[in-house]
Amino acid sequence: MSKEPVAVVGVGQTKHVAARRDVSIAGLVREAALRALTDAELTWADIDAVVIGKAPDFFEGVMMPELYLADALGAVGKPMLRVHTAGSVGGSTALVATQLVAGRVHGTVLTLAFEKQSESNAMWGLSLPIPFQQPLLAGAGGFFAPHVRAYMRRTGAPDTVGSLVAYKDRRNALKNPYAHLHEHDITLEKVQASPMLWDPIRYSETCPSSDGACAMVLTDRAGAARSPRPPAWVHGGAMRSEPTLFAGKDCVSPRAGKDCAADVYRQAGIADPRRDIDAVEMYVPFSWYEPMWLENLGFADEGEGWKLTESGVTELDGDLPVNMSGGVLSTNPIGASGMIRFAEAALQVRGLAGEHQVEGARRALGHAYGGGSQFFAMWLVGAEPPSS
């Protein structure tokens, strides 16, 4: 049986900031959800089900926060489901919601992801002392820094590439009113002079800690026909996972990421991602992950990703813009970060991305990863409905 085409007709985000002390968690998710409904010109009554995503419960210390968010999300009396796949959760949450529409289980679904990092300490949540085990000595960035060094060694990339990404993403964020970091005085020199935290990762090459939420309204063909603004159509979506550590794991370019991208491209009829995709919202919490993921996602041959970055191709006005919104490097409410990538990809093909719009973007990729490069989720959205 064929699948129902799925359209994004509403997108909503909070203004992401270090701490939203004026709202409860319920108030935070409510803001994003209302903005998505407003964008779609729909009401709570139009929503058939709610799919919500959140990173580890330890990050805020509310065990199963979805239990008390049903009223804030208009979900009373409706099916509600929570998804959890670490940093990639915002992406996989959107994909679960997509499947509910594609499978004709529900006509219109509200999907939302959030994080209120200010209420806790993600570093603590990630490094609980376990009896008998040697404590991990590195912290969140330290876990990824050795992989960055491995990438540099493998490809011969000059050590300036990471700062180019950070400089680009922080400048892009200035054009995005919802972005957390707005560094108006950013310069490449400032990025390069920022302290080395986990050598080879500098302070300005790391993501901030944000409070924020992102929501989308997904609907079927009939719902899209009623949409007041252009919908984004889902042309492909996939998730893959693999262990954090195993013999033969390629931490620089994990197989789960490659397989996930290949599946999305197959569904979407993408033969050459570099040529066929107009814009990419990629999960880059540490700047060097841009060239690494360019290779993992098939935009560049192995060892060539840094050359794309260095040549300016991934700039906002480049041939393959990456993280037009400023990316995770500028905004990181962890549980929402993946959905923001998906939502920003949708905004691009809807032509609604405002100042960070890529002229004429017809097909865009949203990408998320999480855990120790363990979970991957991606979707490809287009301005036109899928042909099949």
Binding site: S24, W124, Q134, D199
Partner: protein, 316 residues
Amino acid sequence: MPEVLKAPLVVEFPFTRSLGPVQSAFLTGLRERVVLGVRTTDGRTLVPPVEYDPVTADELRDLVEVAPTGTVTTWAWNHAPRRGQPLGTPFAWVLVRFDGADTALLHALDAPGPDSVRTGMRVRVRWAGERSGAITDIACFEPYDGGPGTPAGPTGHDGSFTDPVTGIVAPARLDYVYSPGRAQSAHLQALSERRTVGERCPSCRKVYVPPRGACPTCGVATTEQVEVGPRGTVTTYCIVNIKARNLDIEVPYVYAHIALDGADLALHGRIGGIPYDQVRMGLRVEPVWTEDGRHPDHYRPAGEPDAEYETYKELL
């Protein structure tokens, strides 16, 4: 078979909560001996108040004050109070519908015994002596034989107080008994003899250190023990410049992936005995043990020539 290890594990952290406008008013009210509810679109009064209408999903901001007296709607006797519960002596858990409210709040009732509690009994708030803007500002409920206290019905309240409580600290604590299982217990037993032992997958032949009891890629149990190391190769690393809490290591230090000889994936450890900026990929290292350490304290240069990249590039 060696003994499988076990140890207590306590996970504890003082999380914070931003209350938002409704919970802020409710908890600040308790501090001021005022019980606030919220009025729904259809005219019901919810105590404790919520931010969004459970029926219509409307935003609720219409606060009202109800009386500090009410009626027990249901209850259960608690024979043996535990740490952190409202009363130290046996008490009843009760749902109390305040006079003027349409919903009930869960709390404790101080009563002589289960025979003295019944559904429908009248109760009133016993305020805590020291109040801070928390649900514990209600010390408990106590039996009461009068009519509604003041105010008699729900009366409008703008929810504003001087010095409102906008956030609370909500400590979370979980107690576990943790067991690392058979494979890791055997590994730790070997480490106590300063030997490093992994397990080989019978299918792909890869040697896992530390062992997990199963191969994550083949999905089969692993039992064949293989001694690896003690020497190994630094495959990749970073230089840590951030001082970690509860970690008695001076920065900068080197956190490295170390492929022990004979192992098929790298384990993680600290490199010492060499200036941090002289550590390199391919450096050959050996473990350094301390008197009471369960694991090697760190790894130091073994004094051998560096390993060729080709020999460890699959083990980064």
